[in-house]
């Protein structure tokens, strides 16, 4: 092959190299917008949405560490409408979020206190997103974790919560749980994972 043809071949090869990721590589990239959107949801500036299963979405208020709403996308349509760097939920509401008055309460040394909340971030792990918050009262700090699973076969809304740093006998009471969830409790203890399933 003469030098000119070699040059042309190299040029063609270069031009054919995709600038964007292949579909496979794109799929391997964390934070797939089909699974998670970190843009504000329904007029709440610090919020994000995670899709569970095929069509159930959970929206989180990151400043309050609460669920804003759980909803099911209309059949064959997206559950989130994206416009101008904001999102709007679309579909059937399965569960409204916690009332503004319903806040995290920490029973610490027998007394109920209301911790200050600070969002710590979001991480994509195998099959789930892990959200974390710092809950602080005075010098005492808890780490609240929520595991939002996105690789599940069914369309049930599930919340998995754990808390690190609770003292023996201390409890953390979660807003928005209780009625409608199984188990019917709002209490987190120890450092184990607590699993809550939204009842139909």
């Amino acid at each position: 092959m003469n030098r000119f043809l070699l040059y042309l071949a190299c040029l063609c090869l270069l031009n054919s190299l995709p600038a964007e990721l292949s579909a496979e590589e794109e799929a391997a990239l964390p934070f797939d917008p089909e699974r998670i959107r970190r843009l504000s949801l329904d007029g709440v500036p610090r919020s994000l949405s995670i899709r569970q299963g095929e069509s159930v979405w959970i929206g989180y208020d990151l400043e309050r560490a609460t669920v804003m709403k759980i909803w099911r996308a209309p059949e064959g349509k997206p559950g989130l409408i994206v416009s101008n760097f904001t999102t709007r939920s679309s579909g059937e509401i399965l569960r409204k979020g916690a009332d503004k008055e319903d806040r995290w309460r920490w029973r610490r040394d027998g007394e109920f206190v209301e911790p200050a909340i600070r969002y710590l971030g979001c991480s994509q792990r195998e099959g789930h997103f892990l959200l974390s918050w710092e809950l602080r009262h005075g010098n005492a700090i808890l780490t609240l974790l929520e595991k939002a699973t996105f690789e599940r076969g069914d369309d049930t809304a599930v919340r998995q919560l754990a808390v690190e740093g609770l003292g023996e006998g201390d409890e953390l009471h979660a807003p928005g749980l209780g009625t409608g969830w199984n188990p019917l409790t709002t209490t987190l203890t120890g450092s184990k994972w607590h699993r809550f399933v939204l009842q139909p």
Binding site: L14, N15, E20, L29, S40, P45, R46, E63, F85, S123
Partner: protein, 755 residues
């Protein structure tokens, strides 16, 4: 039977008899006080006079101002005679030579008996200067009941010291050409550039940083993070960009420190973590979000600089309520400092508006650019110091660093003349020859690169801005230097026109070639004038003629209304010009230096350099916050024959008010030559049919674009929105233009469109 009302008659009679006596007394004994009558304001705007009383229902479009002068410095008390039936929801601003007071207008009741006098505060009046006094109503709200006022009263202690002076006329500007009163059209001859484009991608670059020596990272407004290996860049074919993160929320800043990556997103500062080392980022650690935010589209975190274990960035104010009420979420308009490990957050400066660029300048100075608008009569480059307050004031709760006298910018960047939406400032490295140590910044509306030279005077940074380079496709927003001195520049665009956004967004590599260019390089202030340094020596015998330098001076006064006019705009004052022995510097001896003002120098294009080189550009704007004491420039008599020559250095054709206004306020977004920018093209607009939309009803209708339509669009940009353009995209520039200026602007647009 009631008695006739004798008292009013007697009062009238006494008044009539007394009047000549009072006038006679005033003639013989000058008063220590001065009336500023409503009838003498610059522009009443949409408000109306009833006799000598101005009834104000709306602030926008009105300029309620007067120039006063004191023969000697003294303290004056300012009061206003007014009536107001009901409370207002916002305060009036009194801007007195740049000192601000807010007046919560107390209701007085109804009718003529309700006249009251309110105290607006005490101010120090400088001697000998025309001083601007502005009464600034709330900008955009239209009130159902007027504030009626007859006059402001200035009370001093020295009889005859105060006088009301006529509004100074706008001085004529010399005829302009590119680089001399007009934007450059071409790339700097010592720079070469390559657009690194992949036409399949629209990359609105919002943050840039180097990771190591060879790897460039950049974020896009749309939320992606890309990497590219610089050695692999080939000028043939699309660059091998690789996306390594996605799902970011409107990132506007990126920094890399010791391998850690930090991004400033819409509402949080975030660290991106690649825990498993696969090159992709699976953890978005929220470093801090310790400031309130709303859903306002314009609340961003801008830029990212890491130093001393902290991340520095700025946050902008909201705009959705622009033109109505300037309420802001607390702590907006700050420079924020966040500890990289603990997330501990401090607000080290305030008073910013749209600070779309942060960077380090000479000596590690932290620099921020800010965009003209409410409280910013022009664009700025500010030097961030702990506790600084840069003048943007929100309706209470005010920023905790807010204080009556704001921190001046290191350099004013006059709107339309040298900047329109300035972006990241970046320090030029050693490899950039004579420009090393200077700062360049981009502009997402004006385009190109502008250059700033800074010097320390009295412990503060101040300096001059120079035209540097145009001729780029991309509107530069962010920068990163490779170790070899190549500058990577990322372009961005806003708006709704995808073609325009695609065209001006993307990556450019700019390389300094070392070519010799004859142009002004630096400017240094002396006690008695300004020294200008050139890149190469002047030709022998050149530069001595003061007539080769056209000088203008002006100040700025910030108001709660959008933008601002030049204060005390005047020309002249070059006593002499002295060329240094090596002919690389000219000292201009000036008679009219006023602290806090801009000194604008136009250098004659007739000046030639050694070897006959022609000036590429001949313009600079120096911000003289402080005038150095006991550091005079050397004044020498010109050598024989140096003042000879009959060519006029500047021509004044006149009649170009409309063109200058268009350049200052419109050209950044509207073209007259079919090139699509952020706003509609205005070429040939007069007489055409336009589809407009009522922002309230959302209904579209067709109108004829005539002078009345253009005029209304200038005064009320949201009233009849061109179809396809969003509300609040166009700033309310009509607020700061006089009736005559608007007429001139409309005429210029119509006439230009015919050509």
């Amino acid at each position: 039977m009631s008695r006739p009302p004798l008292f009013p008659y007697l009062l009238s009679l006494l008044s009539f008899l007394a009047c000549p006596a009072v006038i006679a007394a005033e003639k013989s004994t000058p008063s220590a006080s001065l009336d500023l009558p409503a009838t003498a304001v610059f522009s009443k705007g949409p408000n109306r006079f009833v006799g000598d009383v101005l009834e104000i229902t709306k602030g926008r479009g009105a300029t309620l101002g007067w120039y006063v002068r004191a023969d000697k410095e003294e303290e004056v008390r300012v009061s206003i005679e007014y009536t107001c039936e009901k409370p207002l929801n916002q305060a009036y601003q009194l801007s007195f030579d740049g000192q601000d007071r807010f007046w919560d207008v107390a209701p007085t009741g109804e009718g003529d008996a309700a006249w009251e006098r309110a105290d607006l505060g005490t101010f120090r009046l400088r001697a000998g200067l025309p001083v601007l006094v502005l009464l600034v109503p709330p900008s955009g709200t239209t009130y159902g009941h007027p504030v009626r006022f007859r006059r402001l009263v200035l009370e001093g202690a020295t009889p005859g010291n105060l006088s009301l002076i006529a509004t100074p006329e706008e001085p004529a500007a010399p005829d302009a050409s590119p680089g001399f009163g007009e934007k450059l059209k071409t790339r700097h001859p010592a720079l070469e550039s390559v657009d690194l484009r992949d036409e399949s991608l629209t990359l609105r670059i919002s943050g840039m940083a180097m990771r190591g020596a060879d790897e460039l990272l950049f974020t896009t407004w749309d939320g992606d993070l890309y990497r590219v290996d610089l050695p692999s860049l080939n000028e043939e074919g699309p660059p091998p960009f690789q996306k390594i993160a996605r799902g970011l929320s409107e990132p506007m800043g990126l920094a890399v420190s010791e391998g850690r990556i930090f991004v400033t997103e819409k509402n949080e500062a975030t660290e991106l973590i690649d825990g498993d080392g696969d090159g992709f980022f699976e953890t978005y650690r929220c470093l801090s979000h310790a400031w309130p935010c709303t859903m306002d589209y314009h609340e961003y975190l801008f830029g990212a600089v890491v130093r001393d274990g902290h991340l520095y960035f700025s946050n902008s104010v909201g705009m959705a309520a622009r033109g109505k009420d300037n309420y802001q979420a607390p702590m907006r308009g700050s420079v924020v400092k966040v500890h990289l490990d603990t997330g501990a957050t401090e607000f080290i400066a305030g008073g910013l508006r749209t600070p779309d660029g942060i960077g380090e300048g000479p000596g590690g100075a932290l620099l921020v650019t800010d965009n003209q608008g409410e409280w910013l009569p022009a664009n700025k480059l500010v030097h961030v110091t702990e506790g600084a307050f840069f003048h943007f004031r929100s309706i209470p709760p005010r920023h905790p660093l807010d204080r009556p006298v704001a921190t001046p910018p290191a350099v004013w960047l006059p709107q339309g003349e040298i900047a329109a939406s300035p972006t990241e400032p970046v320090l030029l490295p050693e490899s950039w020859g004579p420009y090393a140590g200077h700062v360049v910044f981009g502009d997402s509306a004006y385009g190109g690169l502008q250059r700033v030279f800074l010097e320390e005077v009295g412990g503060d940074l101040q300096g001059a801005v120079f035209r540097f380079s145009q001729g780029y496709r991309h509107l530069f927003h962010r920068f990163a230097f490779a170790p070899n001195g190549d500058l990577y520049a990322g372009g961005i665009a806003r708006g709704k026109d995808p073609d325009f956004i695609h065209r001006v967004s993307g990556l450019t590599r700019i390389r300094y070639t070392g070519g010799s260019v004859f142009e002004p390089l630096a400017a240094r202030l002396r006690s008695n004038g300004l020294e200008i340094e050139f890149t190469t020596p002047l030709a022998a015998g050149e530069g001595w003629n003061p007539a080769a330098y056209h000088l203008a001076h002006w100040g700025y006064q910030a108001t709660q209304t959008y933008g601002g006019q030049k204060v005390r705009h005047r020309t002249g004052g070059v006593r002499s010009a002295t060329v240094s022995a090596d002919r690389s510097r000219v000292f201009l001896e000036l008679s009219d230096l006023v602290p806090g003002e801009v000194v604008h120098v136009r250098i004659s294009p007739l000046l030639s350099g050694e070897g006959g080189g022609k000036l590429r550009s001949g313009e600079l704007w120096y911000t003289a916050n402080r005038i150095p004491e006991e550091n005079p420039g050397k004044v020498l008599p010109p050598p024989p024959g140096a003042l000879a020559g009959t060519d006029a250095h500047f021509r004044f054709s006149g009649g170009d008010t409309g063109r200058l206004l268009f350049q200052s306020y419109c050209a950044a977004c509207h073209s007259l030559d079919d090139i699509k920018l952020a706003g509609p093209v205005l070429r040939g607009i007069a007489g055409t049919k336009r589809l407009v939309r009522d922002p309230v009803t959302g209904e579209a209708r067709e109108i004829e674009a005539d002078a009345a339509y253009l005029r209304q669009s200038i005064l009320e940009p949201n009233a009849l929105l061109a179809e396809g353009y969003p509300e609040n995209l166009m700033p309310p520039i009509g607020a700061i233009l006089s009736e005559e200026q608007i007429d001139a602007l409309v005429e210029f647009i119509i006439e230009s469109g015919k050509r």
